[in-house]
């Protein structure tokens, strides 16, 4: 049973456009929601993370929007660039981040 459901599976965006990836969860005990970026042949790298006490967090072109009541969170990539082409994973955890549950990933392709 997938603890965190992620969509879409793949996404193609024009350069300069906005990329949006969505995740949903059921376990209301989750209290940490990171997003990871992974390039081919590499390990995932933390991109941005949020806790449920805020509804939005922005770092550069990357923004997490969090809707606690709907149990959903999303990643927005503004002004998408070809270098953003990668696989993105959302995740959620409780208990000091030992049990980190990942979504199934979204392969983003940004077309020049």
């Amino acid at each position: 049973q997938q603890q965190v459901k992620q969509s879409p599976q793949s996404l193609i965006v024009q350069k300069g456009g906005i990329s949006i990836i969505n995740c949903a969860y059921e376990n209301t005990a989750f209290d940490y929601f990171p997003w990871y970026q992974q390039f081919p042949g590499k390990g995932p790298a933390l991109l941005i993370a949020i806790r449920p006490d805020v509804s939005e967090k922005k770092e550069g072109r990357f923004t997490i929007s969090f809707n606690k009541s709907a149990k959903q969170f999303s990643l927005h990539i503004m002004d998408s660039q070809p270098g953003d082409s990668a696989t993105y994973f959302c995740a959620a955890s409780i208990d000091g981040a030992n049990n980190l549950f990942f979504g199934t990933g979204t392969r983003l392709t940004v077309i020049p």
């Binding site: 390990g43 995932p44 030992n98 980190l100």
Partner: protein
């Protein structure tokens, strides 16, 4: 890759053989993790360690064992490899109980024939 190395980086083995993957960190971090990554499943936690000789099971621990005799090394063992254990294995580390970020190593691609 945050001072994490994994060895080997690639391995092909046969069903029924034992396999040990090694994760080595130079960060002196307390927490270490083993994940497997499979298409359609994302990353799933196999086992983790919260100190030397202290380990616990994750979501998909069946068929795997771990050991941690030194802070810097975390070993993952497949006692008798099966084709269903063909995957990419990632090690991750985390510094303290109040730090949430997990840093991942470069991965080991394991193929079980």
């Amino acid at each position: 890759d945050a001072g994490i190395t994994q060895s080997p980086r690639h391995k092909v083995t046969e069903t029924g053989t034992p396999v040990t993957l090694r994760c080595h960190q130079t960060e002196n971090h307390r927490y270490m993790y083993w994940y497997r990554q499979d298409p359609g499943h994302g990353l799933r936690l196999i086992h983790y360690s919260y100190g030397v000789k202290d380990t616990d099971k994750g979501e998909v621990s069946d068929g795997y064992s771990v050991s941690r005799s030194k802070t810097e090394d975390f070993l993952l063992t497949l006692e008798s490899a099966t084709s269903s254990q063909t995957s990419v294995y990632f090690c991750a580390i985390r510094g303290t109980a109040t730090t949430d970020t997990q840093y991942f190593g470069p991965g080991t691609r394991l193929t079980v024939l």
